[in-house]
């Protein structure tokens, strides 16, 4: 073989070895989660004694077994689940299992090679390869939660792969794979979302969501009203229903009020309001700017917690 062709075959061999190393590295903290009949799902030992997996794979909460990389099976206790982001957190007694080397999903780039790792059948490692196909910003799931980014990959999620780690070529975990948030597409739940939801589930057992107690309908504001009130927007949200004793009613909001801003956020459609209703704002008071009877008014509203 010529020197050039030797170098050339070395290129692919080097890449092949790196991929196998990345899988081996990821395997050290990749577990199998047995929480449903038939196929075990994936999971990641995120911190000592804490396993993160996909919420949708849990069918029986009271009977969860975790298969560890060393072959041992241990009982798992559900700490909490958040269907909105398709995440669940499970505690195990064993604190010696290596935990994941976690990277940042924010550092991912379209076109980057990524590998999904799992233990289908609960024991041996399996892998699937692809690239990051698309990344866009904050994304609301159809189940009411928010992912910090919408990360699509083109790899195949074989049975048992949901809930398991997505890793880069160094074996760092850059997300958790799920087929449960987008019909037919594999998504990676970003590490930033996982950290946020995990903290909430470990502390409170759930992810709290803000609640106003109103039904809001986007409306276009008449041009002369916009001019008269010197508004910077042409849309607002009209109060069409109100819950008894909800935060809006307690704040003095009335049917027919048009909400145009909540705190610093102009409210042209319901997405704008949802953005303010994250768990971090539960219990906080915000100024609600509204139009009542053609005049501007400001009320103070304390964000409640959705039950």
């Amino acid at each position: 073989m010529s020197a050039q062709s030797e170098t050339q075959t070395g290129v692919l061999a080097g890449i092949s070895d790196e991929l196998a190393n990345a899988v081996e590295q990821a395997g050290k903290s990749a577990v199998a989660v047995k929480a449903r009949r038939h196929v075990a799902a994936g999971g990641v030992m995120w911190t000592p004694g804490v396993v993160v997996t996909a919420d949708h794979i849990i069918e029986h909460e009271d009977n969860i077994t975790i298969a560890l990389p060393n072959g041992e099976e241990v009982k798992g206790t559900l700490a909490g689940r958040d269907p909105g982001t398709d995440l669940a957190v499970i505690r195990i007694d064993n604190k010696d299992v290596p935990f994941a080397h976690v990277g940042e999903s924010a550092a991912l780039r379209v076109g980057q090679l990524v590998v999904a790792v799992a233990r289908p059948g609960g024991e041996g490692l399996a892998a699937s390869i692809g690239i990051v196909s698309a990344i866009s910003g904050s994304w609301r799931t159809w189940r009411g939660g928010t992912l910090d980014a919408h990360i699509r990959t083109d790899l195949t999620l074989y049975p048992g792969f949901s809930g398991g780690p997505l890793v880069d070529v160094t074996g760092k975990v850059v997300g958790i794979n799920t087929s449960g948030l987008s019909r037919g597409h594999s998504l990676a739940i970003p590490t930033e979302t996982i950290e946020r939801v995990m903290d909430s589930l470990l502390s409170h057992g759930k992810v709290s969501r803000g609640y106003l107690g109103v039904g809001l309908q986007p409306v276009q504001l008449p041009g002369d009203l916009v001019q008269k009130l010197a508004l910077q927007q042409t849309n607002g949200l009209m109060v069409v229903t109100e819950d008894d004793n909800g935060p809006a009613m307690k704040a003095g909001m009335l049917l027919g009020d048009i909400l145009i801003a909540l705190g610093e956020t102009k409210t042209g459609d319901t997405n704008d309001v949802q953005a303010v209703l994250g768990s971090e704002n539960v219990g906080k008071s915000f100024a609600a700017n509204l139009i009542r009877g053609g005049e501007l008014k400001t009320l103070s509203i304390a964000i409640g917690e959705r039950q």
Partner: protein
Amino acid sequence: MATAIQEHMAHAPGMNAAMAHLAANLRAATVEVKVENLGAGSGVIWRDDGLIVTNNHVVRGDTAEIVLWDGRTFQGKVVDRSAEFDLASLRIEAHDLQAAPIGDSSRLRVGALVLAMGNPLGVKGALTVGIVHMVPSGRDGSSEDRWIRADLSLLPGNSGGPMVDAVGRVIGVNSMVAGGLALAIPSNTVARFIAGNAGPAYLGVVVQPVELSNGFATLAARGQTAGLMVLSIRQDSPAARGGLLPGDILIHAGRRTLAGDDALMDVLYASDAGTPLPLTIIRGGKLTEVTVILGKREADQA
């Protein structure tokens, strides 16, 4: 710290050149197999004296047309076939053949690059790349399995063609697609077939998977939770001669952990008749070792 991948990807021409180089060599060792003038599948030039390997299901009759990459066409005569292995070998009278280097299929790692070449859907010399999806659990890092399982796309027409590793060595003969995965017959099995083994080795037991209760799980290494219980033993079989008894629970066979249904069959597919197979078993609640000498499967045996 830049990884080898980051470096090579940064110099994309390096990786592209490497792929192209591998493809060119592989193309020269891949043939098209035609039956009655229709493309039936692909094949591998296994030896440069004219031995061609393909799938049994690609070649029905005694002959097939073998078309080389350079366009030369030969009539291939079937030398041997095995329905169980899904392999067939043919001979062509040809010179200046470039056989593919053969690799050891038992050393593949999960995640390693594999590439397949063939004639999918009539396209000649098409290359596809993926990774090794899974290898069965063995005790020393090696694996003998009935299939190489790859996360890779195969299409009709790829059957019988080569699956190679990152340095272009043939580690499998593409056989089929199952559950989205590509399955290839391991090169070690092909070697066994060419050496005269018509199919898997024979033990002579009927087994059933059992969960290891009664604390038996701690007897097996690494918290293995299942084994294979021997329900019955065929008369005069290797199992009978080796002293296996009904009720024995098989835990390991050779290097392979016997945790699932197919595990024993995988081992038999990867073993030669006439060779010893060490078995770790639980008998009467105690762990013990029994070695059997595997036999040849006769035509009428299950």
